[in-house]
């Protein structure tokens, strides 16, 4: 017994000495979509710990999706156990600023002598800017692109990327030809990504935002054109009401010729696809010159720490800066279909990488088109998303045929929700 006690005392003493020797600053961190980003952080963490041995990053359980991320943070704010840094959906940052949970990054940026502010695209910084102050730095950014099964496209005589469609009218025309060639599902258009991203894509394509001066802007001419374009696409291509998962399976299995979705799916499609040639190409527009703009998807890192300890806050900032710029950000592109938000990372560190992975470069070529993925302000923000989802679904299922009527209905319902 005595011996055991002595051993225990020595062990405890040893541990406490050890702890004092290391005395690390702990930064708690949480991110979204573990199935996409686990690999990314497995690469970033060792590099970061080697560069900053005095900081320890402690990972919390990942959020399931962006909505879950928002809800988790809101709950943690109430119960008082916020993490220090959190990765949130690009269009979900505003609510954390409104509630005073996110901290302004301006004081930290001001202290950085060589902060490459111009390394970030303006539209990306705008997403995390509120009242002139930056609250979130983009971490992983995506844009919609076209995915093509070149084996199927060859049946209608398209063999080179330059021949791929530039407008939605061309897409509809090709659908007819593909169907005549015996392909039952020529095209799938992922309208169901949160139900509103692709609607915003068609709006930005015409250079119009979906939220203008705080009001829902579907009542505009651009709104009607967006809905009519969807109807033309869904009817002309006989697009079935697939779920996102079903569509991805069918595309990977080589049953769908043209597939329009986020560049972020590229990693998953490349891993699961059958033996056929995949080529990505620019997202079509309404005119041959292509879209005038496209909404950014993806997420941003925010400083949400409640700590008053300057050392801890400084450590959190160090981590936040590391993952959003330079080498840390480059790992996002290496491990996922997302793009790093930083020009420097794209053009300097990754130049060779894109040469070897041309499919991942399509979205980078579209970067000048990048626009804001607009949030719907107020407590009903998520309910608005659902109303839009339900509305577009009626076009897909063939229930809605009168687009002006659908536009009026959606405009009324969303306006009523936003007013509250």
């Amino acid at each position: 017994m005595k011996r055991f006690l002595a051993a225990a005392v020595m062990l405890a003493a040893g541990l406490s000495v050890d702890a004092r020797a290391q005395d690390k600053t702990v930064v708690e961190f949480a991110y979204t979509y573990s199935y996409l980003f686990d690999v990314t952080f497995q690469r970033i963490l060792p590099k970061f710990h080697a560069a900053h041995p005095d900081i320890e990053i402690r990972m919390r359980a990942a959020y399931k999706d962006y909505e879950d991320g928002t809800n988790t943070i809101l709950r943690e704010a109430v119960s008082g156990n916020l993490p220090d840094v959190s990765v949130q959906g690009l269009n979900r940052q505003a609510i954390l600023v409104e509630k005073g949970i996110a901290r302004s990054l301006e004081p930290f940026i001001a202290k950085e002598p060589d902060f490459a502010r111009d390394g970030y695209h303006k539209a990306m910084l705008d997403l995390g800017t509120s009242g002139g102050a930056v609250y979130g730095l983009p971490f992983a950014v995506s844009l919609p692109v076209g995915y093509y099964n070149m084996d199927l496209m060859a049946k209608v005589g398209i063999t080179a990327p330059a021949q791929l469609p530039k407008t939605w009218d061309e897409v509809v025309g090709l659908c007819g030809k593909l169907q005549a060639a015996g392909i039952k599902t020529p095209m799938f258009w992922t309208w169901n990504i949160t139900g509103n991203w692709f609607l915003q894509a068609l709006m930005w394509t015409q250079g119009e935002p979906l939220m203008k001066n705080g009001k829902f802007n579907l009542a505009s001419d651009a709104g009607l054109t967006a809905l009519e374009t969807m109807k033309k696409l869904f009817r002309g291509c006989a697009m079935p009401n697939y779920s996102l998962a079903d569509a991805q399976k069918s595309y990977s299995a080589g049953q769908i010729a043209m597939y329009f979705t986020s560049t972020s799916e590229l990693g998953a499609v490349e891993r699961s696809k059958g033996n056929w040639t995949l080529v990505t190409h620019e997202f079509p527009g309404l005119e041959a010159s292509g879209p005038k703009g496209l909404p950014a998807g993806g997420n941003a890192a925010m400083l949400v720490t409640a700590s008053k300890d300057p050392k801890k806050v400084a450590a959190a900032w160090t981590w936040l800066k590391y993952i959003t710029s330079g080498e840390g950000a480059a790992d996002v592109a290496r491990t996922t279909g997302y793009m790093p938000p930083n020009k420097a990372a794209n053009e300097l560190i990754l130049a060779d990488f894109y040469k070897q992975n041309p499919n991942k470069e399509t979205a980078v070529r579209q970067l000048p088109l990048l626009r804001e993925w607009q949030p719907y302000p107020g407590a009903n923000g998520l309910a608005v998303t659902q109303v839009i989802y339900d509305g577009i679904e009626t076009i897909v299922t063939g229930r809605a045929n009168d687009m002006p009527a659908l536009r009026a209905e959606l405009q009324d319902e969303v306006s009523a929700l936003l007013a509250k």
């Binding site: 809800n71 039952k184 009401n241 779920s243 069918s250 009903n380």
Partner: protein
């Protein structure tokens, strides 16, 4: 009042006190809290909650999305309850009449009930994939079999492709119901098997002597009445479990609840409003309606069926 009765009474209260405290703390208080919240517009992301009176309930009764909720819930409950009870009883009777091999069938039919419904709905959504799933592939392999083409539906499907079981609004809720029955009837079967073992053999012999010659007569006159208490229990449990359906819809649909909200069952609505969209007020109102449904069904059950049930 004598001192002993007072003491006995005190002792009685002391004995039930722990159970009573727990019940108030973990059951009644949260229910009261939810009831209070249902009269507010509280939302996690929004400003301070305001008292809105019956507005949330009014919305549920008037707006079309909630009409879809009531429709889907009732369709599910009214389809799954009788079917899973009927199939459960049928399977139990068949297995009970077997001389050997009963254990095998028991296991097979009970397997779905043991599996997690959430995981099973993911498996089903693979099986029901419109072009790659095993269901449509199997159906498709019968195309070309002459006599089946006389069935119009099948003939059309062979030409135009088999249905999107989950994505077509004329099939979605029925597919959800099918998975519900598939999962639920094994459990009812086990309950009925237990009930059957307690029916005394002599009753059958006596009935036969009294002139009950056919199997149907024996079932109608002996088995069914003797299963009364089991039936009360099975019906109550199945009804409540049907009201509780959630995991199938959540597993099948990433967003929304089936095409045109055709599978927008009540618990899913509660989750979507209260948890996903943060609108706690309306979520609490749906929870209250759910609670009322469950309480009313069990009370009606008890009243009607207990009177008729014959306890031996």
């Amino acid at each position: 009042m004598t001192t002993t009765t007072v003491a006995a009474r005190r002792a009685g209260w002391a004995f039930v006190a722990p159970a009573l405290t727990l019940m108030v703390l973990i059951l009644l208080l949260p229910i009261a809290g939810a009831a209070l919240l249902s009269f507010t517009d509280y939302s996690l992301g929004g400003s301070a909650p305001a008292w809105v009176g019956l507005e949330n309930y009014e919305k549920i009764l008037t707006q079309s999305r909630y009409r879809a909720m009531l429709e889907a819930t009732l369709t599910y409950v009214l389809t799954v309850t009788p079917l899973s009870i009927g199939l459960g009883l049928g399977a139990a009777l068949l297995i009970h009449s077997l001389r050997w091999g009963g254990a095998f069938y028991k296991t097979v039919f009970f397997l779905p009930a043991m599996a997690t419904l959430m995981a099973m709905s993911i498996v089903w959504s693979f099986a029901l994939h419109p072009t790659l799933g095993v269901v449509n592939a199997t159906l498709g392999s019968f195309c070309g079999t002459g006599w089946l083409h006389q069935w119009g539906w099948f003939d059309a499907a062979c030409r135009n492709g088999f249905p999107l079981w989950l994505g077509d609004r004329s099939y979605a809720i029925w597919t959800v119901c099918f998975v519900g029955v598939w999962q639920g009837f094994g459990f009812n079967m086990v309950l009925y098997l237990a009930g059957l073992t307690s029916v005394p053999r002599e009753l059958y012999n006596a009935a036969e002597m009294d002139g009950a010659r056919t199997a149907w007569d024996r079932f109608r006159l002996v088995t069914w009445p003797m299963l009364g208490p089991t039936t009360v229990f099975v019906v109550t449990i199945t009804l409540i479990r049907s009201f509780q359906v959630f995991d199938i819809v959540e597993g099948f649909y990433e967003q929304g609840a089936g095409p045109s909200r055709s599978a927008y069952v009540i618990l899913f609505a509660m989750y979507e409003k209260g948890i996903r969209e943060n609108l706690i007020g309306i979520g609490a109102a749906i929870a209250m309606i759910f609670l009322a449904c469950v309480v009313i069904t069990s009370l009606v059950q008890q009243r009607i069926l207990e009177k008729k049930a014959h306890y031996a």
